[in-house]
Structures are given as C-alpha cells and as structure tokens.
Symmetry: C2
Subunit: 349 residues, 2 copies
DNA sequence: GTGAAAGCGCTAACAT
DNA sequence: ATGTTAGCGCTTTCAC
C-alpha cells in the first residue's frame, strides 16, 4: 500500500481514512463527545497523533457558528498608557486564564476616531464575546456593545444606567477605607487626602472610602485636594494642601504616582515621613516600591481581576450562571511611609 | 415587495441580492479587485452600507486558505513580567501598527511546560505568521518555528546559527557606547560598569558597547561587575565595585532598574551623584524618571520597535522584499545623574 | 467585466 | 455508536 504524500496540514478526513472510521467519528472524538466507544476513540487518537492533526479553526467556526475567539478591546487612548503596570497585569491575567481554555484572545485596538469600524468588526460575528478594559474606566463607549455581544467590563461603569452590564472591579471604596483606617490606627489625628479625578470611578470611589472613614471617626473631611493621577499633579495638590496652613498628620493619596509627587514636595519642605506626616498610597506599583521612603499602599489583585473577567465571560458564553458584578478585595501593604508612631508620641496627645 | 427579516449578521449573498449582482461581484468589490466597473462597485458599496455587512472571517479564511491572523507569541515566563514597560510598549507598537492593516492580533501565551501545544497551534494553519517577543531575548525556543511559519523576532537571537531568521532589535551596542562616551565627554576619567547577564543579548551587547568605548579612549576595561537586571543585584554589584577600592568617577549601568539599586547604595555610602560619580542607565523606564537624582539614560524606541516587527512580518506575508535584520537607533536622555562637571572641577585635573 | 459552479474543512441533524 | 448528508459564507477557477 503506497502512502499518498499530501501537502499542507492534515485534515480531519485524512485522520478518518487512517483510522478507518467516518469523519463524524473523528469529529466526535476531537470534540470529546461521549458517544464514542473507547476503542474507536483510541484508534482515532492514534491517527491524530501520527498525522499531527490540528483542527482548522476557520472550518470549525464556520460550521459550528462559533468563533472561539474573545476580543480584548483596548481603546486607543488606553493603549498609549499600555505601560500602566496595573493595566498590563490585568491583560496578563486575562491571557493566562484564557490560555487554559479553548478560547483565543484577539487584541483589538479600538480607534476612537472611527469607533464604527470596531463595532462592525465585533458585531460582525467575528468574535464570541468581548472584554473591555479602559484606562479611564468610566468611559463605557462600548456599553451598547453588550446588548449585542456578551461583554465583560473591567472597572465599574460611571453611569448607573449601565448596571445591566457585566463588570469586574476592585473594591476601591473599601481599599481607601482600609488605608485611611490604617492611618487612624497608627495614631494620626487628622487625615488629609489627595483624590483622583471625580469623573473616573476609581477617583470617585477612593475619595468616598476616605470620606466615610474620617466621618465615622468623627473627624472633618475638608482636607481634600484633587489631581489627575500623575506625579506632577500629585505634587501640586500637596503644595495646595500645605498652603492651607492647617495641621494634619496623615495623608491618603488616591494613587502611588501622585503619592510619589507629594513625597518629593514633602522632602523639599523638610517634612519628615512618616514622623511628621504618615502617607498611604494606592495601587502598589513600582513607584511605591522605589519611593523614598517606600510607600504604604493598597494592592489591587490585578492579575486575578483579569482572570476573573475572562472567567465570567467564558461562563457567560458557555451558559453557566454568572454574577453581573464582581468586586475583588484589595489589601493593605504596610511600608515605611506609615510606620506606627512609637508609644511616646501616642501618649503625648 | 416585502422585506424578508433575516436573522444574524448579513451575508455576502444578501448584499448581492440587494445590489442585484452576483456573489462573485460582491466578493470582488470587497476584495478591491480592479475588474469591476465603477457603477457596479458603487451599487455594491451602497448595499454593503445599508445592510451593515461585515465579511465573515472564518468563511473567508476557509475559502482563501489565509487566516489574516498574526500570532503574538509570549513565552509564559515573559508574561509574568508583562508589566515590564519596555515589553508593554513593544506590544503596543505591534497592536497599533496591525490595527491599520487587515490583520488581526492573536495573543498566544506559550506554555513552557507544554511547548508542543503552542507549536501545533501555530503550525496548524491557524495563523499566517508569528511575532515572538521574549523577555530573555536570547531564548529562541521558537527558532525552529520560523522554518515553517513566517516569523519575526523581537531582540536578536543569541545563537549565530539563527541568522537566517528575521528580527528587529534596538542598537544596544551603540546605545551603550553613546552612554559611555557621554560620561567621558562630561569629564569622567575612569568609567566602571554594571553589566547584565552575558547570556542575554542586551546584557552582552551593552557590555560590549561600554568596553569598546573605554578601550578606544585608551582606558582600562577591568571595572566590571554583573547583575541580573534587578534593582537588588544592581545594588550588590555596586557594593562589589566599591569594595574593590579602585577610584572611578563614571558608571554605566546596563539597565535602569539596576541603576536605581546602585543609586541607593551610593546614597548609603555618602557618594554624591553626579558630583563624586556620574551615572548613566539604560532603558529610560519609570525608574529612571523617579530616581533620586533622575537618571541619565538611553531610550529605546520600544513602540517603533514593535511597529517595525509588525511591518516586517506583514511585508513578508504580502511578498514584499524585507530586510532580515533591522536595528533601531537609541538616544541619550541627559538628566541630573550626569550633569556636566563645572569648569573649576574640570581644570583641577 | 460578470456569473455559475465547485469546493475550503468542519459540524450537525438525520438515519441506521 | 457510527455513518450519511447537507450545508456554514466565502473565494476562485472557468466560462461567457
């Protein structure tokens, strides 16, 4: 018997021929259908092995009307800050989780000048579902998307009327509350804050967490300055806070980058951290590790958040029941910028 | 005439019906074939517009035997350092460039425990080409891949026998040379270096650039300590350098992370930067911006590098002539860690 | 320049 | 449990 030399990738048909069964049976084996005898399956598997057969996704997808592709939608403006470590970790979590499934990750940079192009592509039946990560997480320009395509968002939407979409977010309110509580616990008597943009959920939520906590402690919540999450504006907000001339011994900053900016101002002004002022940031990024002093901060489970987004979407696609909203816990990382004041100081109040 | 209500995405057939032409003609228009009259094209385009038709990739790919998909292969270990800003920028460049083409970006996390799975997928005709970005760029476990699939690597391969593959890299040798030259130019009389791992091309090349430059200047090239690119080992290498007891007034560090570690040691030891010792890093990452003092460093065109990788691969796929090796220029960013010594000091030697 | 016909490799009823 | 029969939506000869 002469072995025909067949060019290109082996097809299901060739596997069937070699195994001496029909294509249907091979298909069933490949798709792990239970309606195949173990013997048949074994023969098929062996044929697959010797041929090095890999199913053709295009054909499979055309016939099954499923693409097995999940789009990762990244608004173009977000792509520019792709280097944001938090964002990168979320993507990593998504990719890692999906690698273990049958789904493929399709990165789509959404042109903001021509959003129709992206919408068309996504709605054109080229993907089974979409994951949307936006830097300014409030911007849900793809909210409408979720009506036509299973979609999971990273970060909660700013608009309450989008509550019918699926999203995964970290618990910014609780994180900020824990940070503030920590400052109080180490003996701070007045805690100021540098907040983020109030039109972005993380900015809004973190300010909210701080506010609730200081109020609950019976303290005033007037020591607030805002910035845009950049080190520069963090520094400026710090100067404004200092310029008020009011005393405070604790400071919660809505993200580490602004905190680093604030720290540089404190250094210039000769204000010792944590002795004169204890500082806590948010995000646990590079900045917090390398700052002088290292920054106490709130760590977000970025990788897990990404993995959870992927899990929720896959569950959704496979018809398993899923929660619309998933809030991931954060945790406090205590470092030198907020080391507990010693008892002597504590007693002196 | 009653308008049939057709569920799902519109098909080419429906466009043909509405335009009153055959499917072939619609296909030609969609694929920009020149063999269509302008009138016919206009009618078809209008039908496409009103229907909101988007070609089905799976069908197209099945029929044309092209996938229009490019795989971005990320070794799993690299994915763990996904947050590496350089790496993230390269990916950004790739994604941005591809967004302007007909190609789709498929992120593949290559399991290192089961490399066969990835190889099968890639060689199974599911993608038209691959882009490989590896953190330890020397590791070309996917070198063999390029024999079966058009592949472009980011970073040069360590093995010379892989010269038949396509790759894009930044000019590490020249960058290190410029950095070292800069130290000499500002008046340094002896320049030490903290090098990276010698089994990684960037580590090797940057040491080479330093070595050439000091030799050309007639200086000795013995003041070398190596680290693994981490801040911790940068600090340790710095201590070893100091422990030698030999004087030097210039230091080139193979990356910014190690430079930051070195800087912290110098601070501890009371060695003023740049007064006592001028320091230059490499990478121009976050660390270099926020260090104390800000670090003079070499910027790599990360986004452009990614974009170039994408361009080379697309050219390759479309049969256009391409260069096997593309070396991207770097540039010097002068900051406080190497401000020129003033004339008084210069004169005193 | 345009249409008709024949698949691309696979899945999914429907038989058996 | 397995085989048979139709397509999935598109491209691509090949006629006209």
């Amino acid at each position: 018997m002469t072995q025909e030399v067949i060019p290109g990738a082996p097809t299901l048909e060739q596997v069937a021929a070699l195994a001496g069964v029909s294509r249907s049976t091979v298909s069933r084996v490949v798709n792990k259908s239970p309606h195949v005898t173990d013997e048949a399956a074994a023969v098929v598997l062996e044929a697959i092995e010797t041929l090095g057969y890999v199913p053709n996704r295009a054909a499979r997808s055309l016939a099954s009307r499923k693409t097995q592709v999940i789009a990762l939608v990244v608004p173009e403006s977000t792509a520019r800050v792709f280097a944001d470590p938090f964002f990168a970790s979320v993507v990593q979590g998504i990719a890692l989780h999906l690698a273990a499934t049958e789904y493929t990750l399709n990165m789509v940079i959404a042109s903001e000048t021509n959003p129709e192009k992206t919408r068309r592509y996504l709605m054109g039946g080229n993907v089974d579902g979409a994951l949307v990560v936006s830097h300014h997480s409030g911007d849900h320009s793809y909210a409408r998307l979720s009506q036509a395509l299973p979609t999971v968002f990273g970060g909660r939407p700013m608009n309450a009327d989008e509550r019918d979409s699926y999203f995964v977010d970290s618990d910014n309110v609780a994180g900020a509350a824990v940070a503030t509580r920590h400052l109080l616990d180490i003996g701070c008597r007045r805690v100021a804050t540098i907040g983020g943009p109030q039109d972005m959920p993380p900015g809004f939520d973190r300010l909210e967490g701080w506010r609730r906590t200081v109020r609950e402690a019976g303290l005033d919540d007037s020591l607030v300055e805002l910035g845009d999450f950049s080190p520069r504006q963090g520094a400026e907000a710090m100067r404004r806070l200092l310029a008020r001339g009011e005393a405070f011994d604790g400071l919660f900053v809505a993200n580490d980058q602004m905190a680093v900016g604030a720290l540089s101002v404190l250094r210039e002004e000769g204000i010792a951290v944590p002795r004169d002022l204890a500082v806590v940031g948010f995000d646990a990024d590079y900045f917090s590790e390398t700052s002088e002093p290292p920054l106490t901060t709130i760590a977000q489970p970025a990788i897990e958040l990404g993995a959870t987004m992927a899990r929720v979407l896959v569950d959704l696609l496979e018809g398993r029941p899923v929660e619309r909203v998933t809030i991931m816990p954060t945790h406090l990382l205590v470092r030198a910028s907020s080391r507990r004041r010693d008892d002597a100081e504590e007693a002196s109040r």
